[in-house]
Structure formats: structure tokens, C-alpha cells
């Protein structure tokens, strides 16, 4: 469908870190936006609509905080709406911006957001409140222990060990050391990870993502605009979302449709974006992947769901073989991924941004040689809503 495609023409990210006492929340949004606009070499007048990326308001401490971000994105008197799909918000926001352009209504759309997690002392409390008050709220559920339970099941089904989990952290930290935008960049060893503080068995401190602050933004444009203005761009060729049951207990027990060890709906989401992009053999066609994995163990089921291996569980052995390292067969999270940087409201947008930079040849020191087709994913809710994309040069 050449001539009708949607491209990415500008990308901006903060250098993510814990606390940004020097900036208010709107100022962090502005930071990402200004960088993306400079990258696209556009004035704000050129932006025809804005999609705002923001997950739980409570993290920022401002109800409907997107309203505060209107000025930061230059949104006055422009079409503006906000997306919240939990942790998947960033990729869902890019998808919504994609739909704005693909609808035929707009040629140039900005998507942006930021998070300031370091200011919220109770992120697990807030994330406990995503569970229903009818039944599960009284349980001490949070995103960490929810995914610890996924790890427990993945261990039982596929033989993953704590050492296998540690290997993911070691890989991603090494990648992050090459990425100036990443938050945690210190190289660590398997022994370091295994010796780190136990949070929720088997997840230890170094198996966890940090809480990051910073902004991100992207500018999308129609192929018509891109060709007409002789711009450089990379293309979004596949987009999809899918969700599984909210009930974690339904992902266990007798013949569940979605198994909690795996990432069923992520697989279904990839089916959609692969179909749209014409990717029939991901293990051969995908050159680079930025898969949302805030905990080390979750990178495995994400790789499985993206079908970068031939069967679930195989990702463990392939990672051990170095297949997913920069320099390996299909580098996964060459930016360091969510495990090394997690500003929740934009972390899934960063996945898209990083893949875009890769296939664009602009990823600097963490560039994957010859990457021309990449995939990105975002997870939201209690491991429930998944957005995916295919980006190509």
C-alpha cells in the first residue's frame, strides 16, 4: 500500500533518571517534545493534532494530568486526546497517532508524554489499586509479585532458573551502557544479580526495572507529506492490540486460554501486526526487537510470544547462547529495554522510538548492524493489554 503509509519523522527522549527536581511534570513533557520537533525540523504550527501518552494519574499526583500537558505539547486549539492503556500506554499512543494519520484526516501528528515516578512514594500502592475492589484488592497484589508468579509458572513449565533470569539483566545492562538515554547503565554480573535483595521470590532487586523520570515524543506523518517535503522517515507497517482476561486465576487451573506463564495476548497482538506488515517468519525476518519487559523473566515469554523462537520456553536456551545480544542473531532490547529504564507513561513509546532509531541507522553506539525491520511491544494492566508494532526502513 505504498503512497498511503504512515511514517515517523521525529523522535525525542530525555536522558532518563530517578528524580528530576529541576523540572515540573509539564516541563519534562516539553523536553521530549522539543527534541522530537527539532529532530523532525518542524515548527509547532505544522502539528495538526496531538495524542497524549499518560498512564495512571496517581503516579503523577494530578487527576487527568494531560490537561496540564496541553501547553507543553503546543496543543492550544488543536485536536487533542489522551491514551491510557496502563504500561502499554506509550505504544498505544503511537498507535492512536498512527490512526489519526491513516484515517486521512491529518498529515502530521505529535504524540508525547512523560513520567515523574521518582516523586511518588507509593507506586506499588497505586499499582495495587488496579485490581478490583470486589475481590482482589485486599490481597497484596502489585506488578512485581504478579510477575513473580508468572516466573514461578514459567520455571515449572520450561525449566527457567534464577540464573537464566539474571542473564537477561546482564545482557540488558550491557546494552544500556551503550545508550546515553538509559537510566540504569552500570554493567553487572550474574553473581551481582543473584546476590541482590530478594523482593518477591524469585524476583530480586536487579531483576526489576527502575522507576524513571523523563519525557518522550514522536512525530508521525503521512507518506504524502513526507514525499512532498522530501523528508527522511521510517515506516510503521504493522500495528495491533489484543487483551486477555483480567482474572489472573483464569490464566491458571484447567485449560486456560491464556496461560499466566506465557504472554498469550501479546502473541495475538503480534499476529495482527505481523499480518499487516506481511511478516510470515519472524525468526528470519525480524532484525531487532524492543520488547517491553520490566522484569528479567518477562523478556522470555515476550520473545516466545513474538515468535522469535520456534516454541515457548526456547528463548531461555537461545538467550544463553547469546542470540539476543547486540551482535547476535536477533538483538532484543539493544537500548537496555524497560528493565533498565521505566518511565511508565512513555516506556512503551520508547520501545517504538528505539526500534525506529535502529532501522533508521541512528542508534549510535547501540546500533544493530544492518537492521531494517524491527518490532516493538508494550504491556498494560495486570499483564493484560498488549500493543505491538512493526517498523521498517
Amino acid at each position: 500500500m505504498s503512497g498511503d503509509r504512515v511514517g515517523i519523522i521525529g523522535i525525542g527522549q530525555s536522558e532518563f533518571c530517578s528524580r528530576r527536581d529541576d523540572a515540573s511534570y509539564p516541563e519534562l513533557v516539553r523536553e521530549g517534545v522539543v527534541r522530537a520537533m527539532q529532530d523532525a525540523n518542524l515548527d509547532f504550527d505544522a502539528i495538526e493534532a496531538v495524542v497524549y501518552s499518560l498512564s495512571p494519574d496517581a503516579m503523577i499526583g494530578i487527576g487527568n494530568a494531560e490537561r496540564l500537558g496541553v501547553d507543553a505539547v503546543g496543543g492550544r486549539n488543536k485536536p487533542f486526546l489522551r491514551i491510557n492503556n496502563g504500561g502499554a500506554t506509550g505504544i498505544s499512543a503511537v498507535a492512536a497517532a498512527y490512526y489519526h494519520v491513516a484515517s486521512g484526516m491529518f498529515d502530521v501528528v505529535l504524540t508525547a508524554g512523560a513520567d515523574k515516578i521518582g516523586e511518588c512514594g507509593d507506586s506499588q500502592t497505586i499499582l495495587n489499586k488496579i485490581w478490583d475492589p470486589s475481590y482482589e484488592r485486599p490481597l497484596p497484589l502489585g506488578t512485581i509479585n504478579m510477575l513473580a508468579m508468572s516466573a514461578v509458572r514459567y520455571m515449572q513449565r520450561y525449566g527457567m532458573t534464577e540464573e537464566d533470569m539474571a542473564r537477561v539483566t546482564v545482557k540488558n545492562r550491557r546494552h544500556a551502557s551503550l545508550n546515553p538515554k538509559a537510566h540504569l547503565r552500570r554493567i553487572v554480573s550474574i553473581e551481582d544479580v543473584l546476590a541482590s535483595r530478594l523482593i518477591s521470590w524469585p524476583i530480586k532487586l536487579m531483576d526489576c526495572c527502575p522507576q524513571s523520570s523523563g519525557g518522550a515524543a514522536m512525530v508521525l506523518a503521512s507518506e504524502k507529506f513526507i514525499r512532498g517535503n522530501h523528508l527522511d522517515a521510517v515506516w510503521i507497517t504493522g500495528v495491533g492490540h489484543s487483551a486477555e482476561t483480567y482474572w489472573m486465576g483464569d490464566r491458571m487451573g484447567n485449560n486456560p486460554t491464556a496461560e499466566h506463564a506465557d504472554a498469550y495476548a501479546l502473541g495475538r497482538s503480534f499476529e495482527k501486526s505481523y499480518r499487516m506488515a506481511g511478516v510470515t517468519d519472524p525468526a528470519r525476518q525480524v532484525h531487532v526487537a524492543e520488547l517491553y519487559a520490566p522484569f528479567s523473566n518477562t523478556e522470555f515469554h515476550s520473545i516466545d510470544a513474538a515468535r522469535l523462537v520456534s516454541r515457548p520456553g526456547e528463548s531461555v536456551a537461545r538467550l544463553r547462547d547469546g542470540e539476543f545480544d547486540i551482535g547476535g542473531k536477533i538483538p532484543v532490547n539493544p537500548s537496555g529495554g524497560t528493565l533498565c529504564t521505566n518511565a511508565i507513561a512513555v516506556t512503551a513509546m520508547a520501545r517504538v522510538a528505539e526500534v525506529a532509531l535502529q532501522v533508521w541507522g541512528r542508534a549510535g553506539e547501540h546500533q544493530v548492524e544492518g537492521a531494517r525491520l524491527g518490532i516493538a511491544s508494550g504491556n498494560g494492566g495486570d499483564h493484560q493489554i498488549f500493543g505491538t508494532m512493526v517498523i521498517e526502513a
Binding site: P138, I199, W201, Y246, G249, M252, G253
Partner: protein, 161 residues
């Protein structure tokens, strides 16, 4: 450059309607010390905790089915970190497939020594038999019950020497 801060606390109270299904479930816990699930009309699957409709078929559920008190562990974790507004560690919780149910129910695991995580993980491994145990005084809420290892497991270990 002097950088200032401001503290804000969110404090909102809610009164959530539980609906007939959840309400009945809790009255059985309170008055009968029993756990019930609901059967999906299309697939026959017994959903626990019970809901008035299945999110897979979008059809109403039909009859009530008593489940447990025995069951098997489907997932678990032991938490060793303190989080604001969550209990003091260590504690163990997870999901149990009660006998007669098709989906697993969340709850605390009590009565297990958590000082050595690896040993505790071995005790709680997937498939371990547990029993839903009820508080003598109950209010009609999820914390009225928890799971303890079934006597069967202990006997089994003793037999293995």
C-alpha cells in the same frame, strides 16, 4: 538555585457496590465458611471467584457450585520487601485451584516458615495440596480465609524420610 518541594496526599473514600454475585459469595464465606463458584452456561467452566457473566463468552453464568476446601497451588510468591500500605514482610500468597473449580482463587499462604526462600519455594511448589482455612470470626471478605498446606503433604514427607 533553591529548589522547593510540596507534599500532596490523595485521600478519597469510595463505596463500591459489590452486586448480587459477589455479595452472595461473601455471605457464604461469612455464614457457612464455604467458597462457591459460578458455572459458565456455555462452557460449563466453574469460575472462582464467581462472576455474573463470563468474560470469554460474555454469557451469564448459571448455577452456584461449592468448591474446595481442598485445592492445589497454581502460583505463589513470597514477598520480602516492605511497600507502603502493604503488609510487613515476609508473607506468602498466590493462587489455588480449589477442588471443583476451573480457575484459581487468590489468597495468603500461612503456616510456612519463610526464613529460607529456597526451602519455602520448595514447600509451595506448583501442585502442592492446600486447604482453605477460615477465621473463627468472619466478616464476609477475602481475608476471612487463607490457605494452609494440607496434612497429606506432611505425611508424604515423613514417609519419604
Amino acid at each position: 538555585m533553591e529548589l522547593l518541594e510540596r507534599q500532596e496526599v490523595w485521600n478519597i473514600t469510595y463505596h463500591h457496590a459489590l452486586g448480587e454475585t459477589a455479595s452472595w459469595f461473601y455471605t457464604r464465606i461469612r455464614d457457612e465458611a464455604a467458597i462457591y463458584g459460578r458455572r459458565c452456561s456455555k462452557t460449563g467452566r466453574v469460575l472462582v471467584p464467581p462472576r455474573s457473566f463470563s468474560d470469554e463468552t460474555l454469557l451469564p453464568t448459571t448455577d452456584w457450585v461449592k468448591v474446595g476446601p481442598g485445592g492445589r497451588i497454581e502460583a505463589f510468591t513470597m514477598v520480602y520487601e516492605k511497600f507502603n500500605n502493604l503488609p510487613d514482610p515476609p508473607y506468602a500468597f498466590g493462587y489455588v485451584l480449589l477442588d471443583g473449580a476451573d480457575t484459581a482463587l487468590g489468597g495468603y499462604f500461612k503456616g510456612i516458615d519463610l526464613t529460607d526462600p529456597q526451602a519455602a519455594a520448595a514447600k509451595l511448589k506448583i501442585g502442592t495440596r492446600v486447604v482453605a482455612t477460615f477465621a473463627p470470626e468472619r466478616k464476609g471478605e477475602m481475608l476471612d480465609f487463607w490457605f494452609e498446606l494440607a496434612a497429606y503433604n506432611c505425611v508424604h514427607e515423613v514417609a519419604e524420610g
